[in-house]
C-alpha cells in the first residue's frame, strides 16, 4: 500500500509539474521522462536480473528506427509506427537474447556490445533509407497521435508522462510478481534457483525480451516526441548512458532509474552553464557518488530508511 502510494505519488507530482514548471524545465522534464523509461527498461535486466548488457542502444534504436522508417517510408501513421517500433524491439531483443544468453558475465557484455555495434553499422550501411549519421527529421504526420500534435510542448509532456507511467507501473508490477522474484533470485544465486526446479534460461530470456521491448518503446516515443531519428542513438554512448543512470539512481530499485536520469541530466545542464569543462564537474560528482553511495541514490535510501523499497 505504502509502496503503491509512493510510486503513484511521483506520477501525480509529475502531472502537477506540467502545470507549474517554467517552459525550459518543462521541456527538460519531458525528455528526462522518456530517457528514464529507457533506464527503467535497462534496470529490468541489469538491476533485477543481474545481466550487464552493453548493447541496449540496439533495442532503443530498433524502436526508434522501426517507428521512424515505418512513418517515413511506409507512410504509417504515428500509432502504427509506434507499434512497429515496439514490435521491432521485441524481435531484435529476442534474436539477440537467443544468442547472447549462451554466454554470461564479461562474455555477455562483449557479445551484446558487438551486436549493438553491428546494428549501428547496419544503420550507416543503409544510408539511402536511414540517412546514416545525419539522420532524418520525422514528417509531421508521424507526430500526430490521436489528434494531438506531439511537437507542441503540452501534448509532448503528457505523452512522455504517459509512457513513463506505463513503464514505471509495469516495472513495479513485474518485480513484485512471482516472475520478478525469481529474477531477483537469479541475480542473487542462479545455481540455487536452477536446483529449485526453475528454468533459469527461460526466465533470463523473458527478462531480456521484456527489457528490450520496453527500451524500444522508449526509443520510438523519443523519436516521435522530439522529431528526429539518427544513428547517434544506436551508438555505444547510448548503451553506456542507461547503465550510468541506473547505477547513479540505484540498480534494482523501481524509482532509481528516474532519479538517476534526472540527476545526471541536471548535473550536466547546470555544470555546462558554469564552465566548458562541464564533464569534469560531472565526472567528479559521479566519482563522489560511487564512493559514498555505491548502491546509488535510491539504493542508499533503501539501506538507511526503508528496507522493503522495491
Amino acid at each position: 500500500m505504502k509502496v503503491l502510494a509512493l510510486h503513484l505519488g511521483l506520477l501525480a507530482l509529475l502531472l502537477a509539474a506540467h502545470f507549474l514548471l517554467p517552459a525550459y524545465h518543462h521541456g527538460n522534464l519531458a525528455r528526462v521522462m522518456v530517457l528514464a523509461s529507457y533506464a527503467l527498461a535497462y534496470n529490468l535486466l541489469f538491476g533485477y536480473t543481474g545481466l550487464l548488457s552493453l548493447g541496449h542502444a540496439l533495442f532503443f534504436a530498433a524502436g526508434m528506427y522501426g517507428m521512424g522508417l515505418g512513418v517515413q517510408h511506409l507512410g504509417l501513421g504515428a500509432g502504427a509506427g509506434l507499434l512497429l517500433g515496439i514490435a521491432s524491439g521485441a524481435v531484435v531483443s529476442g534474436l539477440v537474447a537467443a544468442l547472447a544468453l549462451r554466454t554470461s558475465g564479461v562474455a555477455f557484455m562483449i557479445v551484446t556490445l558487438m551486436f549493438a555495434q553491428a546494428g549501428f553499422l547496419t544503420i550507416l550501411h543503409f544510408g539511402e533509407w536511414t540517412r546514416g549519421d545525419e539522420g532524418f527529421v520525422l514528417v509531421q504526420a508521424g507526430r500526430t497521435l490521436l489528434g494531438l500534435d506531439l511537437s507542441a510542448p503540452g501534448p509532448r509532456y503528457l505523452a512522455a508522462l504517459a509512457l513513463f507511467s506505463v513503464c514505471l507501473l509495469l516495472s513495479l508490477a513485474l518485480v513484485r510478481a512471482p516472475f520478478g522474484r525469481v529474477l531477483v533470485a537469479i541475480r542473487e544465486n542462479e545455481e540455487r534457483v536452477r536446483m529449485l526446479g526453475y528454468d533459469t534460461q527461460a526466465h533470463r530470456f523473458a527478462a531480456m525480451v521484456a527489457s528490450g521491448t520496453m527500451a524500444a518503446a522508449a526509443g520510438a516515443v523519443y523519436g516521435m516526441l522530439f522529431g528526429y531519428v539518427g544513428a547517434t542513438f544506436a551508438s555505444v554512448q547510448y548503451s553506456i548512458l542507461p547503465l550510468l543512470w541506473v547505477l547513479l539512481g540505484g540498480a534494482g530499485t523501481v524509482l532509481g532509474p528516474f532519479i538517476g536520469t534526472l540527476f545526471m541530466f541536471y548535473l550536466i545542464d547546470l555544470s555546462s552553464g558554469l564552465t566548458t569543462a562541464y564533464m569534469l564537474i560531472a565526472g567528479v560528482a559521479l566519482v563522489a557518488l560511487t564512493l559514498f553511495a555505491p548502491q546509488g541514490i535510491m539504493g542508499e535510501v533503501r539501506r538507511r530508511l526503508w528496507r522493503g523499497l522495491p
Binding site: V182, A185, N189, E191, M195, L196
Partner: protein, 240 residues
C-alpha cells in the same frame, strides 16, 4: 521397485576418472548415507543424480523414468530436492522469501504462506521469517537450506553434508528432524560425521576412488575391514 536407480555411471575430468561405473539403488522411504574419504567421488555421483554434472556414460532412472538427459530443473520438478554442501541461500532476501521461492513451484495462491510457515516451523526458524537470510547465524542458514528442501515436498531429498559446521545441539535437532521425515521421504545423505551416519541411516554406501567399496547396514559397515582400510590409508601401508 527402486525410486532411484543408477547403472554404470562414469565421469571423467580431464583424464581423471572421478566416478567409475557405479551401480546404485534407493528404495522408497529409506535413509541412505553415502560416505567415503575426500575425493572418493561422492559429490560428483550426487551431482550426476541431480543433473548438475553431465555423466560421461551410464544411466540414471528416477521413478521408472530415464532422466539421464534431463536438465537439473526438470529433475527437480519430478520430485527431487537438493541442498548444497556450501550454504547456498539467497543472502539478500528474507528468510520467508527464500522458502517461498522454493515452495512456489508446488503451491500457488492461498496455501503458499501456510506451506512456508509449516516448513520454517519444522526446522525451528518460524520466529525468524522476516530476517534477512544473510544475517542468520551459520547453523540457522543450514537449517534454512533444509527448510527450502522440505517445502518442496520431494520424494527424494539429497542432503550434501548437512551437519557440517553445526554445533552438537544443532546436530541433535537435525537428527530428530530426519527421523521425523523417515518413511515420508527418501533421503540420500552425504555425511562425514560417523555418529550421525550410524544414528540415522538405514543403509550405508561407502565410496572410495570412484568405486562403491561396500554397502550394508550401519553395523555391517562398522565391522567391514575394507572400509576401515580405506579410511585409515590401507592396512598394507600401516604394516610396512
Amino acid at each position: 521397485m527402486s525410486l532411484l536407480s543408477v547403472r554404470g555411471l562414469t565421469r571423467d575430468f580431464d583424464g581423471l576418472r572421478a566416478v567409475d561405473g557405479v551401480d546404485f539403488d534407493l528404495t522408497p522411504g529409506e535413509v541412505r548415507a553415502l560416505i567415503g574419504p575426500n575425493g572418493a567421488g561422492k559429490t560428483t555421483l550426487v551431482g550426476m543424480i541431480a543433473g548438475r554434472i553431465v555423466p560421461s556414460s551410464g544411466r540414471v532412472t528416477f521413478d521408472g523414468r530415464d532422466i539421464t538427459r534431463l536438465p537439473a530443473h526438470r529433475r527437480m520438478r519430478l520430485g527431487m530436492a537438493y541442498t548444497f554442501q556450501i550454504t547456498s541461500i539467497f543472502a539478500g532476501l528474507s528468510v520467508s522469501e527464500n522458502v517461498t521461492l522454493a515452495a512456489r513451484r508446488r503451491v500457488r495462491g492461498a496455501g503458499l504462506a501456510g506451506a512456508v510457515t509449516q516448513a520454517l516451523t519444522r526446522v525451528g526458524l518460524e520466529g525468524r521469517a522476516d530476517q534477512v537470510a544473510g544475517d542468520l547465524a551459520y547453523g540457522h542458514q543450514r537449517l534454512l537450506e533444509i527448510a527450502m528442501g522440505l517445502v518442496q515436498r520431494p520424494r527424494l531429498l539429497i542432503l550434501d553434508e548437512p551437519t557440517q559446521g553445526l554445533s552438537d545441539g544443532e546436530i541433535a535437532g537435525f537428527q530428530d528432524l530426519v527421523r521425523d521425515l523417515a518413511g515420508e521421504v527418501t533421503i540420500l545423505l552425504i555425511e562425514h560425521n560417523m555418529a550421525v551416519v550410524m544414528a540415522l541411516a538405514h543403509r550405508v554406501t561407502v565410496m572410495a576412488a570412484g568405486h562403491i567399496l561396500a554397502e550394508g547396514t550401519p553395523a555391517e559397515i562398522h565391522a567391514n575391514r575394507a572400509v576401515q582400510a580405506a579410511y585409515l590409508g590401507g592396512t598394507d601401508a600401516a604394516d610396512r
